[in-house]
C-alpha cells in the first residue's frame, strides 16, 4: 500500500510539474467555456420566462451546465497525453520500474481532477462577475466542483482506455466529437427537465452529466436537497470507480499487447 501511495505521489508530482511548465494551456482551454457561458447566457436569456422553468435568471441556471460541459470537453482529450507517453517511450520506461501500474493511472486521475477543479472555480467566478448568484453558498459550490471533477475523471478514464487499447489519436478526437454534444444536450445542462421532450428527459435520467448537474444544482439551491445530492453523487461515484478500474486494466492489457 505504501508503495502505491509513494508511487502515485511521484508520478503525480511529475505530471503537475509538467502542467506548471505550461500554465498557458490551462488558461487557453478556458476560452471555449467562456464562449459557451456568454453566448448561451445572452441567447437564451429569456427562457426563464417560460412557465415552469423554475430559475430566477438563466445565468444562474447555466453556470453549472457550463462547468460540467467543460469538464466533459477538457477530459475527453486526456488520452492524448497518454499517447504522447506511449510514443515517446516514457510509458515503457515506467513499466520496467517497480512502480505500481495503478500508480501510473492514479497520477493521471489526480492531475485531471486538479485541473478540472481549477477550471470549474474560474468558470464559477466569472459567472459570478457576470451576475450569476449562488444561494447554496460555498457548500453548494463545493458539491458542484466535486461533481464536475467526477464527470471529468470518468471521461478521462475512458479517453485513456481508448488511447491504451487502440493507440489512435483520431479515435480520441472522435470520442470528444461524438460524446460532447449528446452528453450535454441530452442532459439538464441548458434546459430545465420539466420543459424537455419526454424522450430526452428519459435519456437524461441515465446520463452521468445529468447526475452531476442534479447533484450540483440540488446542493446549490437556497434550500439544498441533500437526498438528491447523495443519490446522484452516489451513482456518479460508482461510475467513476468503475471507469478507473477499466483504465487500470487497459494499462495491463496494453502491456500484454506490445
Amino acid at each position: 500500500m505504501s508503495g502505491l501511495l509513494t508511487g502515485t505521489w511521484w508520478m503525480t508530482q511529475r505530471r503537475l510539474s509538467a502542467l506548471a511548465r505550461t500554465p498557458a494551456v490551462l488558461v487557453m482551454t478556458l476560452v471555449q467555456p467562456m464562449i459557451w457561458l456568454f453566448l448561451f447566457g445572452e441567447l437564451f436569456k429569456r427562457v426563464v420566462e417560460l412557465p415552469g422553468f423554475g430559475a430566477p435568471s438563466y445565468l444562474d441556471y447555466l453556470v453549472p451546465g457550463v462547468v460540467v460541459m467543460n469538464a466533459v470537453s477538457l477530459n475527453s482529450f486526456a488520452g492524448m497525453a497518454t499517447m504522447d507517453e506511449i510514443e515517446r517511450g516514457t510509458m515503457n520506461r515506467f513499466l520496467v520500474t517497480p512502480v505500481r501500474r495503478s500508480a501510473i493511472t492514479n497520477a493521471g486521475v489526480v492531475e485531471q481532477a486538479l485541473s478540472t477543479a481549477f477550471q470549474s472555480l474560474v468558470i464559477i467566478a466569472l459567472g459570478w462577475a457576470a451576475g450569476a448568484r449562488y444561494p447554496g453558498g460555498a457548500g453548494g459550490l463545493a458539491v458542484l466542483v466535486a461533481a464536475s471533477v467526477l464527470v471529468g475523471v470518468v471521461l478521462a478514464a475512458l479517453s485513456n482506455t481508448l488511447a491504451l487499447l487502440l493507440r489512435d489519436r483520431n479515435t480520441i478526437i472522435g470520442l470528444n466529437v461524438m460524446l460532447l454534444l449528446p452528453l450535454t444536450f441530452l442532459s439538464s445542462a441548458f434546459m430545465a427537465k420539466g420543459l424537455m421532450p419526454a424522450w430526452i428527459r428519459h435519456v437524461a435520467a441515465f446520463n452521468p452529466v445529468s447526475w452531476a448537474l442534479d447533484a450540483g444544482r440540488a446542493a446549490m439551491a437556497g434550500d439544498p436537497d441533500w437526498g438528491s445530492v447523495a443519490l446522484h453523487g452516489g451513482w456518479l461515484l460508482a461510475l467513476t470507480v468503475l471507469t478507473i478500474a477499466l483504465a487500470v486494466s487497459s494499462l495491463r492489457s496494453y502491456q500484454r499487447s506490445q
Binding site: E87, G89, P98
Partner: protein
C-alpha cells in the same frame, strides 16, 4: 545465481502470423557483455521486451538476476536497468529532474536520489545541462541521459537496446567509450542489441547472432571469425553473371570454397586471398565473365553473418521480411 540472464526457447507470435521469436535461447553471465546481433526484425527487441517484463512470451522460460520474468516480474524490475530504443526521458523536464524521479520510482530516498543524480550527471558530462529541458539536448546527450536513467538504481543487469542508432559518429564513439567503461564493472551483466557489426565486434565479449527469431551462431567475435578459415574474397560485376559459368570456372580452382553468389556480387573464402585472386580473375576472364571489382579481406562479422544466416547483413537489414535464398555454389554446406 548461475547466470544473469537465462532465456530458454522463447517463442512469440504477433497478430498476422508474424513469428517474432522462434525458440530463441540465450544466456549471459555476470560481468559479461553479450551482443545480440541481427538485422531489423530479427527478434532482438522482442527478446529485450520479454526479459524486461514488458511482454509475455507465448512459450519458453526466462529468468533475469535469478528471478523468473513471468512469476516474479516485480523482482526482475528491481534488478534491471533498461535503455530502450526510444528515449523515454521526459522532454519538458531537466536531466536532473528525470534522474531524481527515476531514482524515487526505484524507492530511493530524497537525499540519496539527488546525490546519485549528480554523480551520474558528472559521469556522463551532463552537469552543465542538468537543469535544461531534455528537449534542448543533442542526440548524444539524450542518449547518455538514457543510459544514466538505466543505471540510477545500480542494477545487476543492464539492457542496451540499440544504444547508438541514430547518433552521429562522434556521439557514437563517446557512447562506445562509455559502454566499454561499464564493461569494467564486474558485477554488471549487459545485454546489448545492435545491428551494427562494428559495434558488436568492438563491445561485446560474446556474440549471439540472431536471424528470424533464433540464435544461429554464438561465441566470441574472434572465435566466430576464426571458424571461417581463410580470407574473404569479394567480387563484383556490372550485372549479374551467368551462374553456371562462374560455378564451373571457380570449381576448377583449388583452395577456393564457400562460394555464395548474390546477384552481381560474389563472396568466397580462400586460404591465402592475395595469391588466390589473380587465378580467380584469370579463370573468370577466360570463362567470359570478367570481374569489375575484387577485394580481399580478413574475415569480418559480416562474413560470419553471411555464413550462418545465409544472406548478407545489409540486405537482411534492408528487407527483413524478404528471405531470398542466395545461390550457393560448391559451398561447404
Amino acid at each position: 545465481m548461475a547466470h544473469a540472464i537465462e532465456a530458454d526457447r522463447l517463442v512469440k507470435h504477433y497478430p498476422g502470423d508474424v513469428r517474432a521469436l522462434d525458440g530463441l535461447s540465450v544466456t549471459v553471465g555476470r560481468g559479461e557483455i553479450l551482443g545480440l546481433l541481427g538485422p531489423n526484425g530479427a527478434g532482438k527487441s522482442t527478446t529485450v521486451k520479454i526479459l524486461t517484463t514488458l511482454v509475455r512470451p507465448d512459450a519458453g522460460t526466462a529468468s533475469v538476476a535469478g528471478h523468473d520474468v513471468l512469476r516474479r516480474p516485480g523482482r526482475v524490475r528491481r534488478a534491471i536497468g533498461v535503455v530502450a530504443q526510444q528515449s523515454g526521458a521526459d522532454p519538458g523536464a531537466g536531466g536532473r529532474a528525470n534522474l531524481v524521479l527515476q531514482a524515487r520510482l526505484h524507492g530511493m530516498g530524497g537525499a540519496d536520489a539527488r546525490r546519485r543524480a549528480d554523480e551520474l550527471l558528472d559521469r556522463f558530462g551532463l552537469r552543465d545541462a542538468a537543469a535544461r529541458p531534455v528537449k534542448t539536448y543533442s542526440g548524444g546527450m539524450r542518449r547518455r541521459l538514457d543510459v544514466a536513467l538505466g543505471l540510477v538504481h545500480r542494477p545487476q543487469v543492464l539492457f542496451l537496446d540499440e544504444p547508438t542508432t541514430g547518433l552521429d559518429p562522434e556521439a557514437r564513439a563517446s557512447m562506445w567509450a562509455e559502454i566499454a567503461r561499464l564493461a569494467g564493472d564486474d558485477a554488471l551483466a549487459i545485454l546489448l542489441t545492435t545491428h551494427y557489426l562494428d559495434e558488436a565486434d568492438r563491445l561485446a565479449g560474446r556474440l549471439a547472432i540472431v536471424d528470424r527469431g533464433r540464435v544461429v551462431a554464438e561465441g566470441t567475435p574472434d572465435a566466430l571469425k576464426g571458424e571461417l578459415r581463410g580470407d574473404a574474397v569479394h567480387l563484383e560485376w556490372g550485372e549479374a553473371p551467368d551462374e553456371a559459368r562462374v560455378r564451373a570456372a571457380l570449381g576448377r580452382l583449388p583452395g577456393v570454397r564457400d562460394v555464395v553468389l548474390d546477384g552481381p556480387r560474389l563472396s568466397a573464402r580462400a586460404d591465402d586471398g592475395a595469391s588466390a585472386v589473380p587465378a580467380v580473375l584469370a579463370a573468370l576472364d577466360q570463362a567470359g565473365a570478367p570481374v569489375a571489382a575484387a577485394t580481399v579481406a580478413r574475415p569480418s562479422l559480416d562474413d560470419v553473418y553471411l555464413r550462418y544466416a545465409g544472406r548478407r547483413f545489409a540486405q537482411a537489414d534492408a528487407a527483413p521480411d524478404a528471405a531470398p535464398e542466395p545461390a550457393a555454389i560448391g559451398g561447404a554446406r
